[in-house]
Amino acid sequence: MNLFGTRPAGCCSTCSESCQPGSGPRVALVGQPNCGKSTLFNAVAGYRSATGNFVGTTVRLTRSRVRVNSSAIELVDLPGTYSLTATSPVERAARDFLFGGNADVIINVIDAALLSRSLELTLELLDLGIPLVVCLNMVDEASRNGMTISAETLSRALGVPVVETVASRGTGVAQVFSQALKSGQTPRLEQSLIWPESAVERLEASLPPKAECAVGALPRRRPAEAAGETADLLIVAERRRRAERLAAESVTFGRPRADFRASLDRLLTHPVFGYVFLVLILVGFFWAVFGIGAWLEKELLALMASAYRPIGASLGTGTMFSSLVRSLWDGFVGGATIVLPYLLPFLFGLALLEDAGYLPRVAYLLDGLLHRIGLHGTSVVPIMLGYGCSVPACLSTRVLPSRRDRFLASVLATLVPCSARSTVIFALAAFYLGPAWALAIFAFNALVVFFSGWLLARLWPEVSIGMILEVPRYQWPSLRMTSRKVWLRLREFVVVSWPLLIFGSGVLGLVEFWHADRLINTALSPLMSALGLPAAVGVTLIFGVLRKELSMIMLVQALGTTNIHAVLTSTQILTFTVFLTFYIPCLATLAAMTREIGKKLTALAAAYSFALATLFGIAVRFLPRLFALA
């Protein structure tokens, strides 16, 4: 979208270095979770920031240089935070950025429907003295709830500009940014809120004499961190009273309009039907992914085969050049026909569920169940994200309050089949054995995840305070936002993994040409014979450490055919799929895990998943006797 000549001009993920001269004022977007900050950011910055309808989507700070009315500004999207007294590492990132004096202007995004609660953060931000513009977002939601908010009254009472917006539709977005530019030229805010004497006195009385504390007189110090919780809660209570009074003064209540979402929520979180719908939604989701994927795969395979015929005929066989070209082509075809057809609908479906706000409902439904394995519902978010990609899943564990919860959630999230592994399940088990087998693998995996959680929680017991989770309103996912998010995730495959697939396939082609694969296969043959797989498969597992779908593409290359069923029996296909599903996390995931939980625990997690893979791989060999599988 191009508003008033806004265009993205480069972006990087961290904001540690200082602002270069001439790059314009640095504008920070600050707001509580689910207030639409990232939507506002994306409206002007293009798709750089990850949006999602649950707490803690923005884990890293995302920034972008944008142009507003021919002046440049540097826009920083801070993670959602309820207050500046950070309780999780994610919120700490937002707090540290602001306390570090990094922002020239703050755009405080507010969910208009939750005015009173949101104003508590606004009052806290005002204490920082940084020029501020209030972006009263989602005014359409507020009016649906029967709330009419007077922006003028609010603006007068707060002493800062207030702009009404509906960021998802782009309404008012231009005004917010031109107002921010204007405010950036004014000097730092005067202390606009004076704390009542009585509150300050009471506060001071409760503090040790030398304690540093931010009340009125010392607005830019960290509020009462040294003072302990009592003084802190006192300030919070005072801010709440002010916020409530402000909200009461600026809102007139009318009749709320009937909202079908309330009935939808009654159904989707119903004690019985909620679970029925959960299962239906997940099964429907996987069925749709398989249906679309299998159709695309068949069409694309035929297309690619006819495209290759003239090339193959002119190349001949037996030379190093011909086997190199052939294997590079196989890598390309593998990406196009086996990975993309499943990855695309999968990422799209997951993004839809995320943006609609269904994931917190899943957390609500499964919290009780997860308690039985020593986790709580909040861990559902990393685990669900794990179905997309293990790397962001590991990063999203930062929203969890305790180190132990972060460890458990990241181990479980990496056990869940990511989209690469799902692709393997779809393209091998579902395509050759039937969709029911793919579903069985997913269900079995869920059982293993459940059991692993139970086991790990026994090994590392801890009494946590349990789930505290805001459940946001449902939102119609915007097609533009959702497809941008899908593209962002797909781009990772297209620019990083696909070239890697082609390169890896080429390497394997040469390795085979020189017969070096025998060495690797001989080294891995004990494992292969334990799994009952042909020795030629061994070499593919080495590539699986880079990317899981690489193993499958390599399988095509190593066996020399795209019709895998001609070379492997059904049992062998199943063994291979199950082994890859649990096989150690890929390199990128191992790196992310090391960052989040440390080297030792990561090594432990990798060893655990390898042991599971071997154990289940061997177990699958004995399945045919039970199911009479060919």
Partner: protein, 94 residues
């Protein structure tokens, strides 16, 4: 907290407005928060979401399998784990 609960069981005539654990309420009940659990910074995190002593909440739904209690708090929905809800003391409002 326990003292409050003991007193309520001693005097049944004030049972209607006696302090009870939050998870003992039925859906649609409105209640005023009387006491919050200590430790783990729980009180602060709850306060950020609008759950504080003297504040009001409405129970929307309670999930089965010892699942969470879904509350309506100042216009937003908040899910609290059952054990945490059990440690929050409330007084039911008419």
């Amino acid at each position: 907290m326990t003292a409050l609960l003991d007193r309520s069981s001693d005097s049944p005539e004030i049972a209607a407005s006696a302090p009870v654990p939050l998870d003992s309420l039925t859906p649609q009940a409105r209640a005023e928060i009387v006491a919050l659990p200590e430790g783990h910074g729980a009180a602060r995190r709850l306060a950020e979401l609008g759950i504080f002593i003297g504040g009001q909440v409405k129970v929307v739904r309670i999930a089965p399998l010892s699942g969470p209690v879904l509350l309506e708090v100042r216009g937003s929905l908040v899910a609290l784990g059952r054990r945490l809800a059990h440690r929050i003391v409330v007084r039911v409002l008419a």
